[in-house]
C-alpha cells in the first residue's frame, strides 16, 4: 500500500530524511515513531503529497506521490499534527465543505457526515463554531474529516494528543477497528499506544530508519539485556557480594528498605539468572520475597536506539 524507496528530503543542505526505505502492506496499523526532528512529519508530508522528495520515490495505493498526486490524494485521509481548522465555520459546515472537496455528493455526503459524527462523538457540538471548541474536540473533528470519505489509506499524525483518557482509549479502539479495513500509518510519541494499537512499528531517528518490526519483536531485541529485580532479607553488602558472584551476573545495585535488600541485577547477554539467584539465596538461608524479570518496554528500546542514532549523527 505504501512503498518508500531511497527517499531523501533536504531542506537546504541538511537532509531531514536521509535515504529511507520501507513498505507498509495493506491492512493493519503501522506505527511511525521517532523523537522530535527525526523526519517523521517530513516523511508523511511527502506521502500526503504536500512536499516533494529531493530524491527517491514513494507511492501510495499504487500511485506515485509525485507524478500521480491527485490519485494519491483521493485515496488518503490525512490528519496533520496541528489539526488545522477554520475557526469561523461550524463543525457541520466544515464537514460539508471537506466532503465536497472529496467528491462526496448530496445524500451520500449527508450519510457520511452522520456516520463520522457518530463515530467521532461530535454530536454534542456539531453545530458549534470550531473556534469555540476545545483542543480535544478539534482533534475529533480533524479525525472525522480524515475518515469521512472512507479512504483506503489513513495517515494520522498524533491523533490522540489532547484527548482525555476515556477518549484516548476509544480513539485507539477506533483506530484498531479502522485498521481492519484500511491501511493506517500512525505517527506517535506515545509508545505504549503504538504497542497497543499497531501490528508493526517503524522507528526513525535523525532522518534514518533505525528499527522496524512488530512491537513484540522490538521488545525481544531489547530484552537481550535482561534485568532481574529481587528482594532478599539479608545484610546489604553480604547479599550484594554473593549475588554478584553468580555466573552471568554483570552488575548489582542494592538498596535497603525496612530490613529488606532490594536488588537490581543486570545480567550479561540474554541469560536468565533468576534460577541461580534463587538457589544461592536458598543455600545461604536468606528469605526471598520477590524475584521477577523486568519487562523491557518499547520505550526503553526506543530511548536507547534513538540515543545511539543521535550520537552517530553528532
Amino acid at each position: 500500500m505504501i512503498r518508500v524507496k531511497d527517499l531523501t528530503k533536504r531542506y537546504g543542505r541538511v537532509p531531514a530524511v536521509d535515504n529511507i526505505s520501507f513498505e507498509v502492506d495493506q491492512g493493519g496499523v503501522v506505527g511511525f515513531l521517532g523523537p522530535n526532528g527525526a523526519g517523521k512529519t517530513t516523511t508523511i508530508r511527502v506521502l500526503a503529497c504536500y512536499q516533494p522528495a529531493s530524491s527517491g520515490s514513494a507511492s501510495v495505493a499504487g500511485f506515485d506521490v509525485f507524478s500521480q498526486s491527485m490519485e494519491v490524494r483521493r485515496r488518503v485521509g490525512y490528519l496533520p499534527e496541528s489539526t488545522p481548522l477554520y475557526p469561523e465555520m461550524r463543525v457541520r459546515e466544515f464537514l460539508h465543505f471537506r466532503g465536497k472537496l472529496r467528491g462526496l455528493t448530496g445524500a451520500h455526503r449527508i450519510k457520511a457526515i452522520d456516520r463520522v459524527v457518530d463515530r467521532c462523538w461530535l454530536a454534542e457540538f456539531v453545530d458549534r463554531p470550531i473556534g469555540h471548541l476545545s483542543k480535544g474536540m478539534k482533534q475529533r473533528v480533524g479525525l472525522a474529516d480524515a475518515i469521512m470519505h472512507d479512504p483506503p489509506v489513513l495517515i494520522l499524525d498524533e491523533p490522540t494528543i489532547g484527548l482525555d483518557p476515556t477518549q484516548i482509549r476509544e480513539t485507539r479502539n477506533l483506530i484498531r477497528e479502522l485498521g481492519e479495513h484500511h491501511t493506517v500509518l500512525l505517527c506517535s510519541h506515545v509508545l505504549h499506544e503504538v504497542e497497543q494499537v499497531c501490528s508493526r512499528a517503524i522507528i526513525i531517528a535523525a532522518g534514518r530508519i533505525v528499527a522496524s518490526g512488530s512491537p513484540q519483536e522490538l521488545r525481544d531485541r531489547f530484552r537481550a539485556q535482561g534485568q532481574v529485580v529481587a528482594e532478599v532479607r539479608g545484610q546489604k553488602d553480604e547479599v550484594t557480594q554473593a549475588v554478584t558472584s553468580v555466573s552471568g551476573v554483570e552488575h548489582v545495585e542494592a538498596t535497603t528498605v525496612d530490613g529488606w535488600t532490594q536488588l537490581a541485577i543486570q545480567a550479561s547477554s540474554d541469560q536468565d539468572v533468576r534460577e541461580p539467584v534463587v538457589k544461592l539465596v536458598a543455600d545461604k538461608g536468606w528469605s526471598l520475597r520477590e524475584i521477577r524479570r523486568v519487562g523491557a518496554s518499547l520505550e526503553d528500546f526506543f530511548v536507547q536506539i534513538t540515543a545511539e542514532q543521535q550520537e552517530r549523527r553528532g
Binding site: 508530508r45 500526503a48 503529497c49 504536500y50 512536499q51 516533494p52 491527485m70 490524494r73 483521493r74 488518503v76 490525512y78 496533520p80 496541528s82 488545522p84 481548522l85 477554520y86 469561523e88 465555520m89 459546515e93 465543505f97 471537506r98 465536497k100 472537496l101 472529496r102 467528491g103 455528493t105 480533524g142 474529516d145
Partner: protein, 239 residues
C-alpha cells in the same frame, strides 16, 4: 459539485463571518457615501457621479480591496489550513479561482449596495443610465484587477500586514503614479508606463465609453496576477 464552486461558496460565507470584512465594508460605504454627499449630492450640482468615479472610487478601492483580500491566502498559510486544503484532491488553480470569485462576489454585493447613490440621485434629476452602466462595467473590471493583485500578495506571505501593504503600494503606483512617472522618461519605457496606468484605462469608462482595448487590459492583467498566484502556491510544493 466542482471544486471551484465549493471554494467560492466557502470563501463568500467566510466573508460574512469575518469582522474584518464588516469593518472594511463600513469604511467603503462611509467613504463613498462621503464622497457622494460632498461631491455630487448638493444643490446645484450636476446629476452625475463623475467626481465620485473619476477619482474617489479609485482611491477608496485601492485601500478597501486589498484589505478584503489580505487574509485570503495569508491566513491559510499561517494557520496551517493550507496543508490540509492542498492534500485534498484540489488543484492550486481551483483554490485561487475559488478565492478570487468569492472575493469578487463580495465586492459585487458592495457595488449593489452602492446603487443606493444613483437611486437617491434619481429623485432629484434624471440619471443617465447608460453612463451608469458604463461606470459600473469599469468598476467591475477594475475591482477584478485589484482583487487579483491583493490575492497575489496574499499568496506570497503568511503575514497579512505585508500582503496588504504591498498591495497598496503596487496599486497606488500603477493607478496614480504611473502616468506621472511616464512623463519623466522617454521612448518605449514611457509608452510602457503610460499603458500600465490603470487610471487612464479606467477614465474612458467614467466618460461613458466602453473601449475594447481597456477591457482587454483589465482582463489580461487580472489573469496575469491570478496566474502568478497559482504559480506561487505551486512553488510551495516544490520546496
Amino acid at each position: 459539485m466542482n471544486n471551484v464552486a465549493t471554494m467560492t461558496r466557502r470563501e463568500l460565507g467566510a466573508f460574512f463571518l469575518s469582522p474584518i470584512a464588516y469593518a472594511v465594508s463600513t469604511i467603503f460605504l462611509f467613504s463613498t457615501g462621503l464622497a457622494f454627499a460632498l461631491g455630487t449630492f448638493r444643490p446645484g450640482g450636476e446629476a452625475s457621479m463623475r467626481s465620485l468615479f473619476e477619482f474617489w472610487m479609485l482611491l477608496i478601492l485601492s485601500f478597501v480591496l486589498p484589505m478584503l483580500t489580505m487574509r485570503l491566502l495569508s491566513e491559510e498559510l499561517r494557520s496551517g489550513t493550507f496543508e490540509s486544503l492542498i492534500t485534498a484532491p484540489i488543484t492550486e488553480g481551483q483554490v485561487v479561482l475559488g478565492k478570487f470569485l468569492g472575493a469578487f462576489a463580495f465586492y459585487g454585493i458592495l457595488l449593489l449596495v452602492m446603487l443606493l447613490y444613483p437611486i437617491l440621485l434619481s429623485f432629484y434629476g434624471p440619471v443617465d443610465s447608460g453612463l451608469l452602466i458604463c461606470n459600473y462595467i469599469g468598476l467591475v473590471l477594475l475591482g477584478g484587477l485589484y482583487i487579483s493583485v491583493g490575492l497575489f500578495f496574499s499568496s506570497l506571505t503568511k503575514h497579512q500586514v505585508v500582503a496588504v501593504l504591498s498591495s497598496f503600494v503596487l496599486l497606488g503606483l500603477l493607478t496614480f503614479a504611473s502616468h506621472a512617472l511616464a512623463q519623466t522618461v522617454e521612448g518605449s519605457l514611457r509608452a510602457l508606463l503610460q499603458h500600465l496606468s490603470i487610471r487612464s484605462h479606467f477614465n474612458d469608462f467614467v466618460r461613458g465609453r466602453v473601449d475594447w482595448t481597456h477591457v482587454v487590459f483589465f482582463v489580461t492583467t487580472t489573469l496575469v496576477f491570478l496566474f502568478l498566484s497559482i504559480k506561487t502556491l505551486e512553488s510551495r510544493r516544490w520546496r
